[in-house]
């Protein structure tokens, strides 16, 4: 019984989307995420202005008919920049999740299946975890230099450690399952076992982990942007918008409100969705995946 892989796709969808029906707040979270994805994909059609379009006469205009969410100190349209900012938010989230999965999953599985390699690899993970997360990211930015891609790597390394630990924990337990032992005693190869037994059972813990990592990547990227060590200043990211708004907060409080609200809504929605997915998970693994992630 290799878990969910044997079921049909229809019931897979029902398993994952069903619980949202009884959780209105989580459904709202799912809806918000869909809106942000739509923003990112259809940005040129949704945004009334180009994100870098400057109108010097309209500097620091409050929200109104012409500029729904007001303008910044260059006269750039806040709403348009927020819409385009969702592209970067998704890019950072997907990038960090992909990096954490592509590195953490192999490290965790190899460590669980080959105890010799595991002692070394998990010790390295322990050492990386001795660095407070933000400090680790800052140190990596010093080495790699500033930029969107480097911010993804720097934040990704933080969640490489948590992902590797979770995968290691789940894989260790799966290794002891009788059906996995049976397969091994019948001469199944390691690769076959990983593909048939380990990975399919890993999907739900990883999905939960992905949603939490995606959420915290937003906060990490915003912090880096705010410190001037993330995305270059000309890139319309929500963190950059907040950093720029800092000196105008008394004159133009809308510059502080909307980009911050987008970060909060994105992270909150992902946390809500992650919580629902975790409740759906196999109870044996639930304790391994928490949303008390490193911040």
């Amino acid at each position: 019984m290799s878990g969910r892989s044997a079921r049909s796709q229809g019931s897979w969808l029902r398993t994952w989307l069903g619980p949202f029906a009884s959780r209105p707040l989580a459904s709202l979270g799912l809806l918000i995420l869909l809106v942000i994805i739509a923003f990112a994909i259809f940005a040129p059609w949704i945004a009334p202005y180009a994100p870098e379009h400057i109108e010097p006469v309209d500097r620091l205009d409050p929200p109104g008919a012409e500029h729904w969410l007001g303008t910044d100190h260059f006269g750039r349209d806040t709403f348009s920049r927020i819409v385009y900012g969702s592209r970067l938010a998704l890019l950072i989230g997907i990038g960090v999740v992909a990096f954490a999965m592509l590195t953490g999953v192999p490290i965790g599985i190899v460590s669980a299946l080959f105890p010799g390699a595991g002692r070394v690899l998990m010790r390295v993970v322990d050492v990386l975890m001795a660095f407070p997360s933000l400090l680790l990211a800052l140190g990596l930015i010093v080495i790699l230099g500033q930029g969107v891609f480097n911010a993804i790597l720097a934040i990704g390394v933080i969640y490489l450690t948590t992902t590797a630990r979770i995968v290691y924990g789940v894989a260790l337990r799966l290794r002891e399952e009788s059906y996995v032992e049976a397969a091994r005693s019948m001469g199944a190869g390691t690769v076959w076992m990983i593909r048939k037994h380990i990975l399919p059972n890993m999907i739900s813990p990883l999905l939960v982990q992905a949603s939490f990592v995606f959420a915290f990547a937003q906060l990490g990227a915003a912090a880096l942007d705010f410190l001037g060590l993330g995305a270059p200043p000309d890139v319309p990211s929500w963190g950059n918008m907040l950093a720029e708004s800092r000196i105008y907060i008394t004159r133009a409080p809308w510059l502080l409100l909307y980009p911050g609200l987008m970060i909060v809504l994105t992270a909150f929605s992902l946390n809500l969705v992650g919580d629902v997915l975790r409740d759906q998970m196999d109870p044996r693994f639930r304790e391994l995946v928490g949303n008390r992630q490193r911040r």
């Binding site: 322990d126 660095f131 010093v142 080495i143 915003a222 410190l227 907040l242 970060i263 946390n271």
Partner: protein
């Protein structure tokens, strides 16, 4: 028991050595010649050679690490390129702000996180629980600098109750009343962390309340209030208190952003400024000190956990 203490301490020392190698190597991973990067384009070859010798970069790598580690053990973390002062004294200057900020933040976290977490657990499933748990998740999703900027906007710029930036030492004019400079920063820093402690308190309470001895206590007719306070809370707090240790250590580095928002002269702001100034010895020194602190606190938490709860067993 003592063999556990020795084993755990040995592991912490090993982790510290490995971490120190990473911190040491990091200056060598920076693309280009770090000496040129530090001195800028206008440096003369003589200046470059002098700094390279001063930093010991002309020695073999293994020897360099050895010298660096030995001086670090003696408390010599090198000299700041930007200030020309010893790195340790620069860290010491920021220590007062950072430690006070972290302590006051911990106070808020304990004050709000634990009692509200208990309330949510006692009323599990009710609308109070759902509301509080939802609020905690919302707070955990908020960037600290955003909260900080709003606190400045409302309580400093608007109402004028608290200063918006800076922090004069409590040993200078004003004495303890200077702590008012840390009220808004500590609240901003506490928000997401109090939310995490709230969630932890709640789940820990619920875990303990499923234990057999709690059912026995209830069956014996002990009042619900005494069961919650005497049987559940006391045991649930063990996990929560051990989380305080990690939280305190993490606060020192998380404060990087908060200290920048409120222009506080702490260790975190020193890191950010040193990164922008490419003052590598300071970055190395601060990271080493914070990792050390982190490991020591974790070690103390683990060992005291063993002493406090004899049920916890270690191999």
């Amino acid at each position: 028991m003592w063999s556990y203490v020795f084993k755990r301490t040995g592991a912490a020392v090993a982790t510290l050595i490995a971490a120190s190698v990473i911190i040491f190597v990091f200056i060598h991973l920076i693309p280009g010649d770090p000496v040129y990067v530090m001195l800028g384009d206008e440096a003369t070859p003589q200046q470059v050679d002098a700094l390279r010798t001063r930093l010991g970069l002309d020695q073999p790598l293994l020897l360099q690490y050895f010298y660096w580690a030995v001086s670090a053990l003696r408390g010599d973390l090198g000299t700041s390129i930007f200030f020309g002062a010893p790195v340790l004294s620069i860290i010491a200057e920021g220590a007062e702000t950072s430690l006070l900020l972290a302590s006051i933040t911990m106070f808020w976290i304990v004050l709000f996180g634990v009692p509200i977490g208990v309330l949510a657990a006692v009323r599990q499933g009710s609308w109070i629980d759902q509301g509080l748990s939802g609020l905690a998740m919302l707070l955990a999703s908020v960037p600290t600098f955003w909260v900080g900027l709003y606190l400045i906007l409302v309580f400093a710029a608007g109402l004028g109750w608290f200063p918006s930036s800076g922090y004069p030492s409590i040993f200078e004019d004003g004495g303890l009343s200077n702590l008012r400079y840390l009220v808004l920063p500590s609240l901003a820093l506490a928000a997401p962390n109090a939310a995490l402690i709230l969630r932890l308190t709640r789940s820990s309470m619920l875990d303990v309340s499923r234990e057999d001895y709690v059912r026995t206590a209830r069956a014996k007719g002990i009042s619900p209030r005494r069961v919650v306070l005497g049987h559940i809370l006391r045991n649930a707090l063990l996990a929560v208190v051990s989380a305080f240790g990690f939280t305190f250590a993490a606060l020192i580095s998380e404060a990087v952003v908060t200290e920048t928002v409120f222009a506080l002269p702490g260790i975190g702001r020193t890191v950010v400024q040193s990164i922008l100034r490419r003052d590598y010895p300071v970055i190395q020194g601060v990271i080493l000190v914070i990792v050390c602190l982190y490991l020591v606190i974790n070690l103390l938490v683990d060992i005291s956990y063993r002493f406090l709860d004899p049920r916890v067993e270690f191999e």
